[in-house]
Amino acid sequence: MELFVAQIITGLANASSLFLVACGLSLIFGVTRIVNFAHGSLYMLGAYLGYTFMQVLPGALGFWSSILLAGVSVGVIGILVEMLVLRPVYKAPELFQLVATFGVILVIQDIALIVFGPEDLLGPRAPGLRGVFRVMGEPVPKYDIILLVITPIVALALWYLITQTRVGVLVRAATQDREMVSALGVNQAWLFTGVFGLGSALAGLGGALQLPKGGADLLMDFHILAPVFVVVVIGGMGSLPGAYLAAVIISVLNVFAVTYLPQSTLVLMFVVMIVVLTIRPYGLFGREEVAGEHGQVGEPERPIKPASPRVQLLTSVFILLLAMMPIYSASFSLVFTTDVLIFCLFAASLHFLLGLGGLVSFGHAAYYGGGAYVAALLVTHANTPMELAFLLAPLGAGIAALVIGWVCLRLTGVYFAMLTLAFAQLLWSLVFQWGEVTGGDDGIVNIWPSEWLKPTIVYYYLTLLFCVGGILLLRHIAHSPFGYALRAARDSKRQAESTGIDTRKIQLLAFGFAGFMGGLAGALFVFSKGSVFPNELEIARSFDALIVVFLGGVKTLAGGVAGGVFFKGIEDILLKFEYWRLVMGLLIIFVVVLAPEGIVGSLRKGAERLNLIKSKDM
């Protein structure tokens, strides 16, 4: 009983940063509709800045001022980010802003590396709060008690701000009806900026507050992201009490899990999330999100046509060039091209889902990494011949996609996206923590192809065959009745359902098919590298695919492939530099700001403006 109480206190204390970061994210989303993936980065900056201030400012007063200062500074950084990066892209197609926030993640990662160095920083203890209190005989760190008190105070202050002040009224109005706010004569741009700043400050505060418990390191941006999304989803997007309750549930359960079931800590929160969402699809305090059919921002998507003879010819020439590559190029460029091809197939499979189906999956790495792990596990544990494992891998990924899709498709929009992300993280944590089977962090090694496929050239042709074949198949299906039905379900679910089209079934099949193709890419990957590690399943990998699809152009069939080539090509050049993330991040932000239609879409528009190609029907 005593231990129990002590653990609950620890859990509540741990909930405090999580809550601060989560409600910042929730607030930003509620008002601006931007899913700020860079929120973890702001949290990380809060920790580093807090640490830096604490080195300068002495004593207890210095400690607490540092935390406040960190919050304020990160708030200012958030305001800068909003004004420089997000403002130009509010008008861009929905979710395109995401890509800009990916860019911000990369930039902040390298800036943190440059400014604060690569070493993990051990957080300073809070002056005067070093010891423990005895609670029913059990030791509880004094700092935990303080956190326990601080969080509800911050929560109450926020609650007061939002429910009792004029600013709060505007924020709430904006959460519900953005047009109304501008009708009230409020400058929407500054409201957005202000809210973004406030949300960022909360993240910074969260980062600084946890310093005595966790310190600061360069991985904390991604590490906080998954729990924060889980908290926001469980609590219900935009709900403060929901975020608090969810943060408490997750943190307390986590403390118990560490004691009683240490293997389950990472997996546990996803299990909780799935349970909650099964009972309450929109989270504990969330309200149903009515997905607007006419909410599509930007230019409506154009009709698709099968490739013209000219394009077909060009494609054939291109494929021929690829096929003859072993003749005119060195073996290392074959290896590189193999990588690019695999990545393009992965991106194309996501594009199929996102572009045609309008289904924004944040967790597509689940199927790519999943396929790779299925193959690797089959080879390692069941001595499966490589050829068979290679074929079973996409099947396994496809089945996983069907199961995950079945759960996620009950929701729409951002909830759907968050849930897919959470499932990908669930797989990642399973692989990470189930070391006996998956090798955990050490991955699975020695997964080579059969003898006859081993030579670089032969494997290159295998990859070429499956990737080009796969991409052409995806394209072909886009033009089939099924592909049309998928677009119909995206354009107008109402009309599709009233003309007998089972939109949910169509979307589920598409999800499974995209998972299958992602798994195929994963299988090609694992046998080309000979090993697989959990990072093939992690958020960053899903983001890679998302960036590529958005940058290439969601609304153009070639978008996935074009983005894939562009991204891999640039990455190959940039990786030679020490601060490649910084350059890459800036580049992404530039493309987002300058070419909001994606690369292919913007090229096409440019060509139309110059009358190089005929614009149809505008």
Binding site: Q296, P300, H479, S480, D491, G500
Partner: protein, 258 residues
């Protein structure tokens, strides 16, 4: 009996609001029945319950003597009901003809085919339907660039794709010019005559209603308050009060919906 559609005490409440209150109506084969009423009377809510977009709070719906009360829109469509929406629902990324082809693909059970090229299938039938509604010359235009009235006509073509026995049209002429309205209603009357379809439609333009419907039912605050032919409705004091109260009997309210 040859009733195509029958509702029994159909009711829908939203929280405390009774949007549709105890509505029983019957539609004969080949009949063109207008359901009119001021804004918020419950007309669209009625339609949504008939087609299955909304679940009725209580009451029953029969299609040719078969109960369809709790069926999904998909199932109701399969039984031979087509509908158009007050706020048009078309596939904005497709061409005009592809919008109609979609419905035909569904009707002919082609949706789960992965190999053929969709835009080549059922093109002839789709063209015929477009011709019927006067959109054939715009068949290959991008749907997203069309005028609202054109979208309404595409919706009609879509709704006719599976040769329904019952057509539900929610404000079919909204956003059209007076001439287009007359054309569309004459077309509807022709479809009723030629194909034996029964039509239930709502409309705010009283000229259209009086000129083209066989029978009129008036809904106010969810309740049916009158029923009869054009002359009877025009002279019904209850109806006059409802409409003159709002002052809108003979003027069009349509623009408020576009």
């Amino acid at each position: 009996m040859n009733g195509v559609l029958k509702t029994e005490r159909l009711t829908k409440t939203f929280g405390g609001l009774i949007a549709v209150d105890d509505v029983s109506l019957e539609l004969q084969k080949g009949e063109l029945l207008a359901l009119i009423g001021p804004n918020g009377a419950g007309k669209s809510t009625c339609f949504n319950m008939l087609m299955g977009q909304l679940k009725a709070t209580s009451g029953k719906v029969y299609l040719a003597d078969e109960e369809i009360t709790d069926l999904s829109p998909r199932q109701v469509w399969r039984k031979g009901v087509g509908r158009t929406f007050q706020i048009t629902a078309t596939y904005s990324s497709m061409t005009v003809i592809e919008n109609v082809q979609m419905a035909l693909l569904s009707h002919f059970g082609d949706i789960l085919r992965f190999l053929p090229r969709a835009h080549l299938l059922h093109r002839e039938e789709a063209l015929k339907l477009l011709d019927l509604v006067g959109m054939a010359d715009q068949a290959d235009r991008h749907c997203a660039v069309l005028a609202y009235g054109d979208l309404k006509r595409i919706e009609l073509a879509i709704a006719l794709a599976h040769s329904p026995m019952l057509l539900l049209m929610d404000e079919p002429t909204a956003g059209m010019s007076p001439k287009e309205r007359v054309d569309l209603m004459e077309l509807t009357a022709k479809i009723v005559r030629d194909q034996g379809v029964s039509v239930l439609f709502t409309e705010h333009d009283m000229d259209v209603v009086f000129a083209h419907s066989h029978r009129i039912m008036v809904l106010n605050r969810g309740k049916l308050i009158a029923e009869g032919d054009a002359g009877e409705i025009r002279n019904n004091p209850l109806v006059q009060e409802v409409y003159l109260g709002g002052g809108t009997l003979f003027t069009s309210e349509v623009e408020s919906h576009a």
